[in-house]
Amino acid sequence: MKRLVVIAGVAGALLPSIATAEEIKVVSGPDLNDAIVLAEPGDVIVLPAGAHLLTEGEALEEKNLTLRGAGEDVTVVIPSGGGEAFDDDGVSTERLTIGDPLQPAEESDAPDDDAGGAISGKAQVIALVATAGIFLFILELVRRRRLAERYAILWMGAGFALLVLSIWTGGLDVIADAMGIQEPANAIFLLAFALGFLLLLNLSVASSRLSEETKILAQEVARLDQELRAQQAQDAAPVAVEDGSEKT
């Protein structure tokens, strides 16, 4: 996505005579400042939902840029300095909120919206896509009979829990609260560790049983092989006696 910004910037530099303002789409927080540096005077920078930290306030002011968000309280721009850039007439903002620079981004980001949680929009999308992918992968393994149902249930339970947590991001806080853990990240690490531990233990048990069964099978195969040889030797016995030699 950074490349898009660069391309837009290069395009802007190649066509200085054309007066039309460029629209530059920004994907996440740090990209905002790259976009400002690359922008031509008068450009519009489009910001997605989430918090964006602004460090290039002076350039923003110099170039008379427009910042366009995805809605008030949805897109939040947090100036790292005092936010004087927004007092300049040349800088205009649309559909966004200027955050309080003294508050951390997480706190200023829609405190009444429980879906907002501590995770930025981009991270949530990644988590959603990844967990949905994992879930589908497990389903596919079961469908192709590569994974036995009894293990699939375990893994799909784990995948489902991940999926729920990536949608209901506030859930982490609830769980952490219920466990008496201050940091939600620690709660998720603890839960993930416990789950991984149990799954591995389950696999060790399964593999112990398999090796016991395999041992019995190998012993039976060896026995049948021996009995078959004995049988064949018996069948061939009249010939062998005439030879005076034993054949196996």
Partner: protein, 271 residues
């Protein structure tokens, strides 16, 4: 064991892994010194010609398709003994460590003790501490001996000796369940848990000619821990319930194997 010697069916179980250079001699020595014993060689997944050498000497060979370890090999041997109705089975390692000349010492002990002995092991240390083993192994042996003697209230001087002879009850027990990796010590505990009795006689052993010990030096710490753990878990378990105990027919104990059916099938094919 009031049955006269001659009527007992006796079997020598020879576990062997890559002992092509030795196993033939072991089989021949058993033939010479204990001709009343049938011989089954358990080829535990050898990659050399162990099985062929054993067969060439006239031994019955049970060849595992892959390596199961000494525990799995011995269990195969005991299963064979049980299936074929043997009264006595003795383990003689395929590496030539155990001297077939002692087989009848073990047998004599088993018979004189009668129902008082279900297994007799050949001990290197009983009364004759002359057998030289590396000091680490000797110390390990002493620890196991001490623990086992305390737990089982029977005198055990050489718990890691694989040179051992079992009667019918011992065969039945070991065919059903035999410990895995380093089974000698655990097997003694199993005997005790099932109220079977152990005796020892002194034997001399050869230093290993061919092959290697099943216990290698860097692994001896693991061995110690694993066996001690197994001993204590075994105590907790009291009476080990083997995984395969459910299906006795799988072991071929009750009805003999349906070779009749096989033969019938074979004859059908031929005609």
């Amino acid at each position: 064991m009031s049955v006269p010697d001659a009527q007992l069916k006796k079997l020598a179980i020879v576990p062997a892994l890559n002992e092509a250079g030795m196993v033939g001699r072991v089989v021949r020595d058993i033939r010479r010194h204990a001709p009343d014993f049938d011989i089954v060689v358990i080829d535990d997944g050898s990659t050399d010609t162990t099985a062929a050498h054993a067969r060439a000497q006239g031994a019955v060979v049970i060849a595992h398709p892959f390596n199961l370890g000494i525990g799995g090999a011995m269990q195969s041997g005991y299963k064979y003994a049980l299936r074929n109705g043997y009264d006595v089975a003795v383990q003689i390692d395929g590496d030539g460590q155990h001297k077939p000349t002692h087989i009848h010492d073990l047998l004599a002990k088993l018979e004189t003790e009668g129902p008082e002995a279900d297994m007799v092991t050949g001990s290197r240390f009983l009364g004759h501490p002359g057998y030289k083993v590396p000091i680490g192994r000797r110390v390990g042996n002493l620890i196991f001996a001490l623990v086992l003697t305390t737990l089982t209230r029977q005198r055990v001087t050489d718990p890691t000796s694989g040179f051992r002879m079992a009667n019918r009850r011992g065969i039945e027990l070991f065919a059903r369940d035999y410990p895995h990796d380093y089974p000698e010590v655990e097997a003694i505990l199993m005997l005790y848990a099932h109220r079977l009795r152990l005796h020892e006689v002194h034997v001399e052993m050869n230093q290993r000619g061919y092959g290697r010990s099943s216990i290698k030096y860097p692994q001896s710490a693991y061995y110690m821990i694993k066996v001690l753990l197994a001993i204590f878990i075994g105590v907790l378990r009291r009476r080990p319930t083997p995984i395969e105990a459910q299906g006795t027919e799988a072991l071929g104990i009750d009805p003999p194997p349906d070779t009749g059916e096989l033969t019938a099938l074979a004859e059908e094919r031929r005609s």
